[in-house]
Symmetry: C2
Subunit: 390 residues, 2 copies
Amino acid sequence: MQAVRWVLSHIIHRHYYYHYVFKKKEIVMKVQVTQERLAQAMLLVGRVATSRSALPVLANVLMKTVDKQLQITATNLDIAITHTLPCKITEEGALTVPARLLSDYVNSLPSGNIDLTTESNKLHLASGEYTSTINGVSPEEFPTLPSIGKNTPIEIEATELKTALQQTILTASSDETRPILTGAYIHTHEKQIYIAATDSYRLSQKELKTKPTADFALVVPATALSDLLRIIGDGSGPVTFRYDDTQVEFVFADTQLITRQIDGTFPAYRELIPEKSDVSFTISKPDFVNITKVASLFARESAGSITLEVGDDHVSITSVASQVGENTSKATAKITGEGSVTLNSRYLLDALNVIDSKEVTFRFSGKISPCVLSPVGSDDYIHIIMPLKS
Amino acid sequence: MQAVRWVLSHIIHRHYYYHYVFKKKEIVMKVQVTQERLAQAMLLVGRVATSRSALPVLANVLMKTVDKQLQITATNLDIAITHTLPCKITEEGALTVPARLLSDYVNSLPSGNIDLTTESNKLHLASGEYTSTINGVSPEEFPTLPSIGKNTPIEIEATELKTALQQTILTASSDETRPILTGAYIHTHEKQIYIAATDSYRLSQKELKTKPTADFALVVPATALSDLLRIIGDGSGPVTFRYDDTQVEFVFADTQLITRQIDGTFPAYRELIPEKSDVSFTISKPDFVNITKVASLFARESAGSITLEVGDDHVSITSVASQVGENTSKATAKITGEGSVTLNSRYLLDALNVIDSKEVTFRFSGKISPCVLSPVGSDDYIHIIMPLKS
């Protein structure tokens, strides 16, 4: 479905979006790069290249000299990632070559300089005693993505953005029948930036410390944000975020990611967040993780369904008696009210996994209202899980 | 094929091999073990349990009190592994329970004591605030493997046996149509113990330092030896090795592995090892690995086929020109003679991967005689690879 839709949009928008940069003539490129930098570039860029597209050239990366540097780009038409690396240029030029082979090959080479030379759509690579030729495809076949309008960018610290994305994109949907839910909703609300995502069974919302310079409301594919997380890695420094009517751009250090926005209006999710709940408990996160994990082992047959019972000074989790057996695990907690609720143990474990506080608060009202999970010590994150009918 | 054959043999030999240890009455077992020891036991034993057998009880482990200890056994009828661990016994007894669930559950529990109690084929586990019930199957359903005749055991140091197995079982065949080649040939020859294995494309032979106390020739399933490697892990100390006409037993610390022998005569492989070769080179192992790896990337379409060219003071490896491109990589070596040979790069990499010397010697004669690879500095290991017709 994904591929078909995008190839169609590629064709429809071809004249508007994609133009061919290179004229039909023999392009010779001669550059020298280090193995370390080329391997790093392929690590950042290569995974977006796809051999499962109707356009075979999308399995390739585009290598191109720009402004005395080497640019390496891959795109699957949803997302384009470009990494720029220093190089010594003897002749300017460009070529596309298979991403996986180039990546594997460069990773196998010893560190040191690699001479890259193109000739009749072939890339010659020479590094010490290693020489090889990789068959490529003309850069004319490669789509170039649109550039983003030059509006004022927002700078978000990489570590802040990384946490926010890790805590939200897990609740985006992977079901393409409702495309709007496959995105994260990056938007402003009362002079704050929020990131939210929901698959209609669960919902998460993070408030950023970074302040907005203008109001906006964008729905960005969660898969693209997952690639952005990979690009940020353990790095720090500013991520520059820019958008226009249809595209979003993130730039971190020497790497740029451009992705389309998802059309449509994100659900008015704030109405779903209960302000108060009848029952509430505060518990050590490791304890909560442990009793949930143990109970989930016995819930494999029942789609992970577990029941939380809250009362006295204990939270107990029970799995429904099944063919394999049954389980009850308890942990102490600070409790207000009493009651029980049944939910999917995997959703609860996913949520606990992205919360980094020592203690968490869990609250609910009866068996059908949304359950709310939040860290103790900060009120910038909220995670909601819908109960299962028991 | 495997499962069918073994279930048949199980039925045929039932009266001879398998007897039921437990009488039909309510068996109550009450023991206390530590989480750490039970988790370790399940790690060593659990993987042999199989849910893909026609006998459902083989997905379970047998827990049984024996001599004031707890014995945990799993078998797939080819192999049986028993681990013995200390416990406090209140009531002797036995039960079988699903291996995977028990293993996952015990791994999720916090460290400390676990009380195990059986009742009507259910296992109750209690550990602090965690209580659960796992549905089991009567121990009467579980096959007990034959005991090995009390012949004089051979003691082999774990680290020596580990290296020998790692260097040989990789060349055993996984093709069940010639069962004899799926085993490793553990045998004596001129007062030395050897382990050899061949899949008819390649062959390896290791000579042990440990001396035999009698002559023997056994073919042991490579899969069982692979389990033995897992049991040895990074441990040291003696491995006790005992055999009778049909079975082999290895005991390491508190763990026993019993496996059937493979019927038949192992090929007279010594005749295949060429005493001398026309061309020979000695090369740094990391260099040889690197140039082979790089060439293999270009050989994916041609089933990994690469050509070694030996001459002057260089070894060069080339991949055949193909759709993706072509490659040549060189490394310096001490060379006698000159020539070229084509072989499967994966076989060469597998062999280099299990040789732990800094330098290796590779020798061959023409394009169709066996190639011989051996470590420099010890003559207890030899690895043979048949060339590909080029």
